[in-house]
């Protein structure tokens, strides 16, 4: 045995350094001492890390998705409104409208934006079967569809044409007023419907063929909403009907006059003097389409109709008034949130450079302004979910803490021996931290892989929520109805692995400190 020069007999106050590789080996071998326990503890960590990653991706996806929804179906990137309107926007103060919008829209369109003027007002819609309060949107059909996408989601029928007294109605209002295609009717109702609608026997037979008897449908009953008594559940619209049949049926319903409605509203116009003039107005119209978009706000008690006829004498005498102009970059992708060229500042800048600055009462407001409450609520939701997952984390970490406690207790004698051999307390703490950290790391990595694997289908395909959303009457707070997808969050994926490793390592410290409080001579005697 030859000593290796300077390596060994150093001075006491010049401490030699420890071979960390050996500590790693010892830690690793110790982990394989109790394989089952190591594996279960690791699995516990893996499951919580995976769940956290999965839930986080879900929440992020939900958040992004609902923001995209709000932008694509409700607001666009920004709104131009009078400041007074914006401040009272929850009351829909139509008297805070403005007239000089045409040059603004022109400039914006030239500068590569889509701009859609709108007049929003409230009123009552009267149909044959009843009435409902509705928020009406007077829109320019072409300009509107360049900013928002709900037009692409007509449940049935079409969007109103310019210059007509036509209405597209939200699905819920249409169902309430019995203006949509009847999906479930009694035999009696079906006969009356055929009588009212069919002009020829062939048309009558056509309509009859669209329905099937409830006997064939027993299994599917659970899919439908309001439970009706058995005798009444007689006829159901067939599920597998081609679009062309539905369109023909819809046209028959329209021409029967069934969808003719009356709009009754009070128009408020602010005089130069500041006094508000109320004008009672009634207008005949026809519901030609039903909207059912991925954003529940377009599917409720809302109606869309051409702005131009509202301005005219037959309409509401609005004299070209609008309450807002929606702005979005032309050709913006639905999958993207508004970019830097769509901020209020950027839009104002474009108007200023074109020499058409916004008149004094008008302002540009970014989309976030309209969803502040919603964003706060969504964040709150995130927090509760996160707290729940955190509890799960704590549980799995208790597992690690317990495993380490047992391991350290069991090795009391070994610890005494290692201290006798000259290992310092710090080195022992470190070696147990490495051992526990390895459990955390293995669990963390497994969890990262598991969570990411679970995310792949959720991100690429998502979950189709449309039926469920309708059954819950459309609004869960989150604006998601059609399809929900998770979103990747690399920060969380990497972060949760790191946190799992670090927390596990830290959890080994208390039991190690406890073991180190036992005098060496005592622990050597320990059995």
């Amino acid at each position: 045995m030859r000593r290796k020069g300077s390596g060994i007999h150093k001075n006491v106050d010049n401490p030699p350094s420890l071979g960390y590789r050996e500590i790693l080996i010892v830690a690793f071998r110790n982990l394989s001492r109790h394989r089952v326990k190591t594996v279960t503890t690791t699995l516990g960590v893996a499951v919580s890390v995976a769940l956290y990653i999965f839930m986080d991706a879900w929440l992020l996806g939900m958040n992004l998705d609902s923001k995209r929804n709000i932008v694509s179906y409700e607001i666009g990137a920004a709104k131009i409104q009078t400041q007074a309107y914006f401040e009272k926007k929850d009351d829909l103060p139509m008297y805070e409208s403005f007239t000089d919008w045409k040059p603004l829209v022109e400039v914006l369109e030239k500068a590569g934006y889509a701009a859609a003027p709108r007049m929003v007002f409230t009123g009552t819609l009267y149909a044959r079967s009843g009435s409902a309060p509705i928020v009406f949107h007077g829109v320019d059909p072409e300009k509107e569809s360049r900013v928002l996408r709900y037009r692409n989601y007509m449940e049935v029928g079409r969007f109103p044409d310019k210059g007509t007294y036509e209405i597209a109605l939200g699905l819920l209002a249409a169902e309430k007023l019995k203006l949509d295609i009847p999906r479930r009717i009694t035999e009696e109702e079906l006969l009356r419907l055929i009588e009212d609608t069919a002009r020829t026997p062939e048309e009558g037979a056509f309509i009859r063929r669209l329905y099937e008897n409830s006997d064939n449908r027993q299994k599917d009953l659970t899919r439908d909403r309001a439970p009706l008594s058995q005798e009444k559940l007689s006829y159901f619209l067939r599920k597998d009907l081609p679009r062309s049949d539905l369109d023909r049926y819809w046209e028959l319903l329209l021409s029967s006059g069934r969808n003719d409605v009356r709009i009754s509203t009070v128009i408020d116009i602010k005089e130069e003097t500041g006094k508000i003039r109320h004008v009672y107005q009634v207008m005949e119209a026809k519901v030609v389409g039903i909207v059912n978009s991925p954003n529940p706000k377009t599917n409720g008690n809302v109606a869309f109709m051409p702005l131009d006829v509202l301005s005219g004498e037959e309409g509401l005498l609005l004299e070209d008034r609008v309450t807002e102009i929606l702005v979005r970059a032309a050709g913006a992708k639905d999958s993207d949130l508004p970019g830097p060229e769509e901020t209020p500042e950027a839009i104002e800048g474009v108007l200023n450079r074109a020499g058409v600055p916004l008149p004094s009462p008008l302002r540009v407001y970014g989309w976030q302004e309209y969803v502040k409450d919603y964003i706060v609520a969504a964040r709150g939701d995130n927090i509760t979910t996160r707290v729940m997952i955190l509890l799960l984390f704590i549980l799995s970490f208790l597992g690690i803490a317990n495993t380490m406690l047992m391991a350290i207790l069991e090795r009391t004698k070994e610890i005494g021996m290692m201290r006798a051999l000259g290992m310092t307390d710090g080195e022992l703490i470190l070696s147990f931290m490495i051992e526990a950290g390895m459990i955390g790391l293995m669990g963390g990595v497994a969890g990262m892989i598991l969570g990411s694997l679970a995310n792949i289908p959720m991100v690429n395909h998502g979950i189709d929520y449309s039926t469920m959303a309708r059954e819950l009457s459309g609004d869960f707070g989150y604006r998601i109805t059609a399809l929900f997808r998770s979103a990747w969050n690399p920060g969380t994926i990497i972060g949760s692995g790191i946190v799992a490793t670090l927390v596990s390592a830290l959890l080994s410290i208390p039991p190690t400190l406890r073991a180190l409080r036992i005098p060496v001579t005592e622990s050597l005697r320990f059995e």
């Binding site: 045995m1 030859r2 000593r3 290796k4 390596g7 060994i8 007999h9 150093k10 006491v12 106050d13 401490p15 030699p16 350094s17 420890l18 071979g19 590789r21 050996e22 080996i25 010892v26 071998r29 110790n30 394989s32 001492r33 004698k413 070994e414 021996m417 290692m418 201290r419 006798a420 051999l421 000259g422 290992m423 310092t424 307390d425 710090g426 005098p519 060496v520 001579t521 050597l524």
Partner: protein, 227 residues
């Protein structure tokens, strides 16, 4: 050169408010290359003495110098480093690290000293050969007999060439034939390397090997014998 110099060692244990005197004033010194046995009946203070000399426990009063250093002046950490560099331990129950192989157990003290891995492995192989365990380096402790495990422990204590090897009843768990073999080994290492050995025993046969015998009784030195 004096390796261990103990003066007036007193060690009291207090359990449940009762003070148990374990050592009651012991003065002994050991020179380099000694092969000495601490003997005495059970409870006489043999283990206590070895623990104190091995810097594993704190004195009640008195003074211990290891190669001239007064250990009462050292911090916990410095004591650990002193043990790491100068003292080898052989325990009655072998106390090998169960998850490491024989070779890894032997090289462990070297890695604590920061010896390069290849060099540590080479030195550990030499040490294993010296204790007669050539080729058994890959075995885990539980795959070896008690005598073999104690040989590994001896190799582990000696591999770093310590100034002092302390062994508390190293043969108590072994049959007498294996016990004498272990003593033969220790003695031959003492001769060839000049390592200072200090061991305790109450086994007559083991005492035969010692060149110096220190008799303890009730915490004091009752007598000494040199051969």
């Amino acid at each position: 050169m004096t390796v261990v110099e103990a003066q007036n060692l007193v060690k009291d244990y207090s359990t449940n408010g009762l003070t148990v005197p374990a050592l009651r004033g012991i003065s002994l010194s050991f020179e380099r290359g000694e092969f000495a046995a601490i003997v005495g009946p059970s409870g006489s203070g043999k283990s206590t003495f070895l623990h104190l000399v091995g810097c594993l426990d704190v004195l009640t009063s008195g003074e211990i110098r290891i190669e001239g250093t007064d250990i009462s002046t050292l911090s916990q950490k410095e004591l650990a480093f002193l043990r790491r560099q100068k003292i080898g331990f052989i325990f009655q129950a072998y106390n090998l690290i169960p998850v490491l192989t024989a070779l890894e157990n032997v090289s462990f003290p070297l890695t604590l000293l920061g010896v390069d891995r290849k060099e540590a492995k080479r030195m550990a192989e030499v040490a294993l050969a010296t204790v007669g365990l050539e080729g058994m380096g890959n075995r885990k402790p539980k795959e070896m007999s008690g005598g073999q495990q104690q040989r590994v422990a001896i190799a582990r204590a000696l591999v770093k060439q310590p100034s002092l090897v302390l062994a508390d009843e190293p043969t108590a768990n072994l049959d007498s034939k294996t016990g004498s073999e272990i003593l033969e080994l220790m003695l031959s290492l003492n001769r060839t390397h000049g390592t200072t050995f200090l061991f305790s025993t109450h086994d007559k046969m083991v005492m035969e090997y010692a060149r110096r015998l220190v008799y303890l009784r009730d915490g004091i030195v009752e007598g000494e014998e040199r051969r």
